[in-house]
């Protein structure tokens, strides 16, 4: 076979002549080499009409090679596109393998598995050719097993990604390209949603589920679930079963959560919402320092989903913030008594005036009563026709009415004074309230920073354990620059490759029951060629995805 046919194979297609010997060459494309009859006659035979195959190989093999050449283009295009996208991404953004939970060791293991399976399939072919059917079958079965092992490892790897919210697509994907305002808003909304769900679970856990079932079919379904709302239960189902949660104490299956655990979760979420998200949102809204705003948002993003490169800057910016807040806090605390005094002073004079006002009100009432009395007395005197008394009483009435006018004027002045004082008091009150709120917020943030800084500094370097790992049930948005593009290309590449592996395994399984005699060697060779190609693709994918 190494002595290649004399005539150039590329010219062969036109070489089929009308009276070619179909009987001797047609039909059988398994294990039969067409090169020999051609090669055997080359040069010396007289001009006989003879069938020349398109290429000096069996038709099945030819078809497979044609298919493989399209496959080469397909995968070269896919991985080439990956390379182009990867190196064209904004500088410094493409996620490192460890950032997206790709373990080199696992990739290397899978490479080994595929290489080994290439050897086993080639051995199966050799044994089938030498008609040692039992051994051929053994190696074929082993190849299928190795292919399945590869897929199993792949499934484990996919599960790792899904567990961390790395999906190629929304709504499952939680990847954000930037730690910006929309990332902050998404984090806040997720936490609020989670807190609401926890609240629902907490209150929903108390009433007897039987009553709910009778009254409302919609609620009945959620009542059938463990004592959590349906949504929360569904959220946890994805991340609850399996070993990864062994190191995450709080993440037990949803049904096993006691009210106490639910409350603990709620508290954790509240803490992150107040000391983390809300604080950052407030600062970002008020500050004019872009670097400070960026640092705040990035350090939050880092805490949720840490990356090794970001560790040092994140710790540094958190420390800077801590120092600044520690500096601000005494100033704030010193202002509290000051504002309290202001509030008290404003309140004191205000109350004083209000008291005076009510005194005047009383005086006005007394005077009005006296005037009424005088009116009656005057009427009585007129009835008695005592003119002297009437005159005297009328003078007295006039005096009283003058006095009433005076007092009423005084009261009007006082009311004006009180109205003038009211906003000042409200401002003093509001100032005090805001100061106390700011102080509480600063204290909350300082506590948050203290907790997370000590956590960061004590974690062993390189071990990336963020809030999204610690509390997977929160399903927080994660900041992975270029992570969406990465996920799309990763799942596309490995998914297509895994599909090819699956097809290969199916082909093996179909062949296993057959008798692997030399007559079947051709088919086995074709399946083997396909399988080697699958191995070939992985040879390029492994360094591209795991090592670059």
């Amino acid at each position: 076979m190494t002595d290649r046919p004399h005539d150039d194979p590329t010219h062969a297609p036109s070489g089929v002549t009308p009276s070619s010997t179909h009987g001797s060459h047609g039909g059988d494309d398994v294990g039969h080499d067409f090169a020999h009859p051609v090669a055997g006659h080359h040069g010396h035979a007289p001009i006989t009409l003879e069938y020349q195959p398109a290429l000096p190989i069996p038709r099945g093999k030819l078809c497979l090679w044609l298919f493989l050449s399209t496959e080469i283009m397909f995968f070269a295009a896919l991985s080439g596109t990956y390379i182009v996208l990867r190196f064209g991404a904004p500088e410094g953004t493409w996620p490192a393998p460890e950032t997206v939970h790709l373990a080199e060791g696992i990739g290397a293991f899978n490479t080994f598995v595929l290489i080994l399976s290439s050897v086993t399939i080639v051995l199966a072919l050799e044994y089938a050719r030498s008609n040692r059917r039992g051994l051929a079958k053994f190696w074929l079965v082993l190849t299928a097993v190795l292919g399945t092992l590869f897929l199993g490892v792949k499934a484990y790897e996919y599960d790792q990604k899904f567990r961390h919210g790395i999906y190629p697509q929304h709504p499952h994907g939680r990847i954000y390209e930037r730690a910006d305002l929309s990332y902050l808003a998404a984090t806040r909304m997720r936490l609020q949603e989670e807190i609401a769900a926890l609240d629902a679970a907490l209150t929903g856990a108390t009433p007897a589920p039987v009553e709910v079932m009778e009254s409302d079919p919609a609620e009945a379904t959620s009542a059938l679930l463990p004592p959590m709302s349906g949504r929360l239960a569904a959220a946890d189902a994805g991340s609850s079963h399996a070993s990864a949660n062994a190191d995450v104490g709080a993440d037990v299956p949803a049904g096993d959560l006691s009210a106490e655990q639910l409350r603990a979760r709620r508290e954790t979420a509240e803490k992150l919402l107040a000391g983390g998200v809300r604080w950052v949102e407030g600062e970002v809204a008020t500050s004019t320092n872009d670097a400070y705003r960026r640092d705040l948002m990035q350090s939050l993003g880092y805490l949720v989903y840490p990356r090794e490169v970001a560790r040092v800057p994140a710790i540094a910016s958190m420390k800077r913030e801590q120092a600044a807040l520690n500096e601000e806090r005494p100033t704030l605390a010193a202002r509290v008594p000051e504002l309290e005094a202001e509030v008290t002073a404003a309140g004191a004079s205000f109350e004083d005036l209000v008291r005076k006002q009510s005194e005047l009100d009383e005086r006005i009432k007394t005077l009005e009563d006296e005037i009424d009395d005088l009116d009656y007395d005057i009427e009585d005197a007129e009835d008695a026709e005592d003119d002297e008394l009437v005159e005297k009483l009328e003078t007295e009435l006039e005096e009283k009415e003058e006095l009433l006018d005076e007092v009423e004027d005084e009261r009007a002045d006082l009311t004006r004074e009180i109205d003038a004082l009211r906003p000042a008091k409200a401002v003093a009150d509001a100032n005090l309230r805001k100061l106390s709120a700011r102080l509480a917020a600063v204290d909350g943030r300082l506590g948050f920073l203290r907790e997370h800084l000590s956590h960061l500094e004590h974690a062993d370097a390189g071990h990336l354990h963020g809030l999204s790992d610690e509390h997977p049930w929160m399903r927080l948005p994660i900041w992975i620059p270029s992570g969406n593009m990465w996920a799309s290309t990763y799942f596309l590449l490995t998914g297509f490759h895994a599909l090819h592996v699956l097809v290969g395994i199916i082909a093996f399984v179909v062949m296993i029951p057959l008798t692997l005699s030399p007559a079947r060697a051709g088919a086995l060779e074709n399946v083997g060629l396909y399988w080697h190609f699958v191995d070939l693709v992985w040879i390029f994918l492994f360094p591209l995805l795991y090592l670059f």
Partner: protein, 153 residues
């Protein structure tokens, strides 16, 4: 084994085992390159080495496992144009997809993936802008104020 009288002069157990070992060793080399501080100091050196190793591995698989070493010249007809087309496609993607960030407008950059910023030079040593640090508390919006009953952690 099968080398003897059979129709396949290509491949013997010995060949296959040597190829297998070579492939394992080459995988190990890729792994070592990826983890070598010196070679990855300039990543393109490491990347080129890894791709070269991969090409070598691919060649071994194609030549020995897929028996192309022993095939007639038709192998060039099927492989070389294919590889050329594949390479052409990748090269054709370069100017627009590969160099896409060169064309980004300022607005587009606002939505682009955000690399980790270097520590900002314009930042005051305290890290806190003066405006926020000393502003009267009356100006603090309620947005960043946690509920009053939230206990300080």
């Amino acid at each position: 084994m099968a080398t003897s009288a059979q129709s396949s002069p290509h491949g013997s157990l010995k060949t296959y085992l040597s190829v297998f070992i070579a492939l394992c060793v080459l995988t190990g080399i890729s792994f070592a390159v990826a983890n070598s501080q010196a070679l990855m100091a300039n990543p393109s050196v490491g990347w080129s080495l890894m791709m070269a190793v991969s090409a070598g591995k691919a060649l071994l698989v194609v030549l020995f496992f897929m028996h192309l070493k022993y095939e007639a010249n038709w192998k060039y007809v099927l492989t070389i144009p294919t590889l050329g087309m594949a390479a052409f496609l990748v090269i054709a993607l370069g100017p627009d997809i590969g160099a896409r960030t060169a064309q980004y407008s300022e607005e587009r950059w606002l939505q682009a993936a955000q690399p980790l910023g270097e520590p900002a030079p314009e930042l005051a040593p305290s890290g806190m802008p003066a405006a926020t640090a000393t502003e009267p508390p009356a100006n603090v919006p309620t947005a960043n104020v946690p509920p009053a009953d939230t206990p300080a952690p």
